[in-house]
């Protein structure tokens, strides 16, 4: 399979999966109301996935990424998203120059 075909398939597949999620709640309607442990598990999905995607970048790439990640976490708990992004980027560029 060529790179272009694989790219197109990946995009269409991701689109189908996402559309499926968007309309399945609509079709299931109010009947789908997870409670108890299932609800807790469902609520844990976004932070678990977001963390899993970036954890190796922060923890297993190098000191610049780990230290810049720590700075971004501190800012993220207090300030809006834009401040967190600016802090992370400035810190990683400076540290890559200093430590790299």
């Amino acid at each position: 399979m060529s790179e272009e075909t694989a790219t197109l398939l990946a995009i269409l597949g991701m689109a189908a999966v996402t559309f499926g999620c968007r309309i399945s709640g609509l079709l299931l309607g109010p009947r789908f109301r997870p409670t108890g442990r299932l609800r807790t598990a469902f609520d844990a999905i976004p932070p678990a996935v977001l963390t899993a995607v970036i954890a190796p970048t922060v923890l297993a790439t190098g000191w610049p990424e780990t230290l810049a990640g720590a700075a971004a976490i501190v800012v993220a708990l207090r300030a809006p998203m834009l401040a967190t992004i600016v802090t992370g980027v400035v810190a990683v560029v400076a540290l890559r120059h200093g430590l790299g």
Partner: protein, 236 residues
């Protein structure tokens, strides 16, 4: 759904645009970044437009760029997308009764533009009652066009700027995900979920390798929540 534009419909659309404007401003740099990072991974402007138009889910699209590789790991991409976008099942279920008065086909097609930001606005607007078609679909469509435009712009200007790692743009994605995750770190359970997911994902990345860290971290975090978590009172 295409009734003649009455004064009420115009007012509803106008209100929708006012309500979604801050989210559009916030999404603009993320769209630019997505386009630039995607082209750095070998996608072209058409791919980026297709992805933003058809998938229309920033978190899943950015995660996909992160795990994008050669050959393209299609199964891992689909699984990561399913995990990240599973929240739409709950969001669309909660909106379902508020749009039940609209034609079914219109609802199904229109829900393509359901995203975190316009979902939150629509829920607030609806209160306990109905939500109008011009408000929900007008808002969603504007937000959708905004996302496509900025990702296409990022894709066409990205190559001019050069290697994104040189000016730290690769880390902008990481920092953004840190900010998004911090928004969920509101309880003891969610902090435990984040710590467990980070440890498992890093371990899997060092041993098995990408993209399996996403699956390992996500499943570990979700399991921790299900086994040790304390169910919180949630608004119905």
């Amino acid at each position: 759904m295409t009734t003649a534009t009455s004064p009420t419909a115009t007012a509803e659309i106008r209100q929708a645009i006012v309500d979604i404007a801050p989210a559009m401003v916030a999404a603009a740099p993320i769209g630019l970044l997505y386009g630039a990072l995607a082209t750095a991974k070998g996608m072209d402007v058409v791919d980026v437009l297709l992805a933003s138009g058809l998938i229309f889910a920033g978190g899943a699209q950015l995660a996909a760029v992160q795990i994008w590789d050669r050959p393209v790991p299609i199964a891992a991409l689909l699984f990561s997308t399913l995990l990240i976008n599973a929240r739409y099942i709950l969001m669309s279920a909660s909106l379902a009764p508020k749009v039940a008065h609209l034609p079914l086909l219109g609802r199904i097609l229109g829900f393509h533009v359901l995203a975190d930001e316009n979902w939150a606005m629509s829920e607030r607007r609806a209160g306990g009652g109905r939500i109008s078609a011009p408000y929900f679909f007008g808002m969603g469509t504007v937000f959708w066009i905004n996302w496509m435009s900025f990702s296409a712009l990022g894709a066409s200007t990205g190559p001019l700027i050069g290697d994104p790692t040189r000016w730290g743009a690769d880390f902008a994605f990481t920092a953004m995900f840190i900010a998004l995750t911090a928004g969920f770190a509101r309880s003891r359970t969610s902090v435990a979920v984040i710590v467990a997911a980070a440890a498992a994902a890093t371990g899997a990345h060092l041993t098995i390798g990408a993209p399996w860290h996403v699956l390992a971290g996500a499943l570990t975090g979700i399991t921790v929540a299900a086994v040790f978590g304390t169910p919180e009172e949630t608004a119905a």
